[in-house]
Amino acid sequence: MKLSTSDVEYVAKLARLEVTEPEKEMFTAQLNDILLYIDKLNELDTTGVAPMTHAIAVQNAFREDKVLESLGTKKALANAPDARGEFFRVPKVIE
């Protein structure tokens, strides 16, 4: 076992996911299976191989520094679960 239930709790916290007890058990078993499978990559010696980050090597995609039309506040707030005035409203952050 690579991953314990407490590891799963820690990862869930990093991922901002609340997990139930049965989910913890399930994820611990399933993630261990998957990680065990992924272990086969260690059969390969990759010393000196440059990692591939992009399928097609595109240089920096610059455009002219020109102001274009933007969404605007009204449209940007249209989907908000809780909008007030010009702001997104959220539960309190500070104790």
Binding site: D33, I34, A55, I56, P81, P91
Partner: protein, 485 residues
């Protein structure tokens, strides 16, 4: 024959000659939807009113001589591409009420080409799945056998074309999500080269792998759709400034003297014998077309799935961090504080497969594990791409099965994620290398389930794929069956 059963190019002729109007075609498609949709469930949302308005405009344009490549043709959109003013859910509860303020570039391009949108199709939640069973809106069924899955993640787009609920559709392919359902539903599906089609407005899953492409009834229609979709987009930083040919010119050309690579790693134990036999016959057809069979090797094939299941979840865990209940989508009620709101929103808003992948990805990117997982996977990814670079020195295109088995039963693999992941074993390497691939029907099992053959080519060689696929389609002369629904 009903109008809904024709291809794009056949309907274009009818529209031009005045034999049919766009209104008649749209009516025909919606009458078909009324008859079969309840059983198939291809769509999350139908857009009948918009379609009728667009059809009226198309008919007016035709009268005025303004006929574009897709004028008046009913096209369906996977519910992962943003449509201005039309809800776009990505198959998820967390986006069930999201109404995009803009159109994806592909939507704009299809509209400009004259297409009439029928609706938004069902999909695995956030495109994570191979069966369309993880959709928040319930599963889609395979039109060839309603007890079976249509493939995924673009299952609704594939079943809609197979069941004649639209003439063509678009999907997205991150590890096989266009080619696998195309094969399992008996239609044509293409994943273009990474960067060929703009991803602007495509809801992101794994940004270095995602690509949009078409589902069609035949190869010529695939070329027509690619003409509308391909091209550089200044709004998308990974879209590539490469010249786009007229893809229709490749249809009907011969492949005399072409070298067709057969990778030995793709012909292994575990392939369904009927799939194996159908692909063997496909190879014989290609030889009869003048293709020369060349044995090749893609030695890192056995590692593709492991690489994919690090890279895709890692990128997904980062992309899906934006769903936090603040700016759009679902928010959980009754949170103690901000952190509690995030956690509850994401717990209630995401389904189990999405959570599983966020967990794997978060773990793989977490402190102390990055090099061991993401770093290692990115190195092996480079080796996989090198395999293809070497292979294409020896052959023009590669031929493989699209899937190891025909469509499996609904519920058969839902409890075993690894078994589910294995159904993409022949399609994943394409996304990792960024090359294009196409799946074309190559026969049926004894029980009448469709089987697909896949062709792969080098970067930006979609034209070659269309040429070989159209030569194959013409010479294989696979019996034209339609599902009986």
């Amino acid at each position: 024959m009903e109008l809904y059963s024709f291809t794009i190019h056949e309907l274009q002729e009818k529209l031009k000659s005045g034999e049919a109007s766009s209104r008649q075609i749209v009516d025909s498609v919606f009458s078909r939807i009324d008859a079969v949709e309840e059983r198939v469930h291809s769509y999350i949302r139908l857009m009948k009113e918009d379609a009728l308005t667009a059809a009226a405009i198309a008919d007016e344009n035709i009268k005025n001589g303004d006929i574009r490549p897709l004028t008046g043709i009913p096209v369906a959109l996977k519910d992962i591409v943003c449509t201005q003013g039309i809800p776009t859910t990505c198959g998820s509860h967390i986006l069930h009420n999201f109404v995009p303020p803009y159109d994806a570039t592909v939507v704009q391009k299809l509209r400009d080409a004259g297409a009439v949108f029928v609706g938004k199709t069902n999909m695995d939640e956030f495109a994570m799945g191979s069966s369309t069973e993880t959709s928040y809106f319930g599963p889609t069924r395979n039109p060839w056998d309603l007890d079976r899955i249509p493939g995924g993640s673009s299952g609704g787009s594939a079943s809609a074309v197979a069941a004649d609920e639209c003439i063509a559709s678009i999907g997205s392919d991150t590890g096989g999500s266009i080619r696998q359902p195309a094969a399992l539903c008996g239609i044509v599906g293409m994943k273009p080269t990474y960067g060929r089609v703009s991803r602007f407005g495509l809801i992101a899953f794994a940004s270095s792998l995602d690509q949009i492409g078409p589902f069609t009834k035949d190869v010529e229609d695939c070329a027509i759709m690619m003409n509308a979709l391909a091209g550089y987009d200044p709004r998308e930083s990974t879209s590539v400034r490469a010249e786009v040919p007229d893809y229709r010119q490749f249809i009907g050309r011969d492949i005399n003297g072409w070298r067709i690579g057969i990778p030995k790693e793709y012909y292994v134990d575990g392939i369904d014998p009927e799939v194996s036999m159908a692909v063997k016959i496909a190879i014989e057809v290609i030889e009869k077309c003048g293709g020369q069979i060349v044995d090749i090797s893609l030695p890192h094939t056995p590692y593709c799935l492991a690489v994919y299941y690090i890279i895709a979840p890692a990128e997904a865990s980062s992309n899906l961090a934006r769903y936090d209940g603040v700016k759009y989508g679902f928010r959980a009620a009754e949170a103690r504080d901000l952190m509690d709101m995030y956690k509850k929103t994401r717990m209630q808003g995401f389904g189990p497969e999405v959570k599983r992948r966020i967990m794997i990805g978060t773990y793989a990117l977490s402190a102390g594990y990055y090099d061991a997982y993401y770093g290692k996977a990115s190195q092996v990814r480079a080796l996989i791409r090198r395999d293809f670079d070497e292979a294409f020195k020896k052959c023009d295109v590669i031929l493989t099965p699209t899937t190891p088995t025909p469509a499996f039963k609904i519920g058969e693999k839902t409890d075993d994620p690894l078994q589910m992941y294995l159904s993409d074993i022949f399609t994943i390497s394409t996304n990792l290398a960024g090359i294009p691939g196409i799946s074309v029907p190559c026969g049926y099992t004894r029980t009448g389930l469709p089987i697909g053959v896949q062709f792969l080519a080098g970067h930006f060689e979609e034209g070659k794929l269309l040429q070989v696929a159209s030569a194959y389609e013409k010479n294989a002369a696979i019996e034209k069956r339609r599902p009986t629904l």
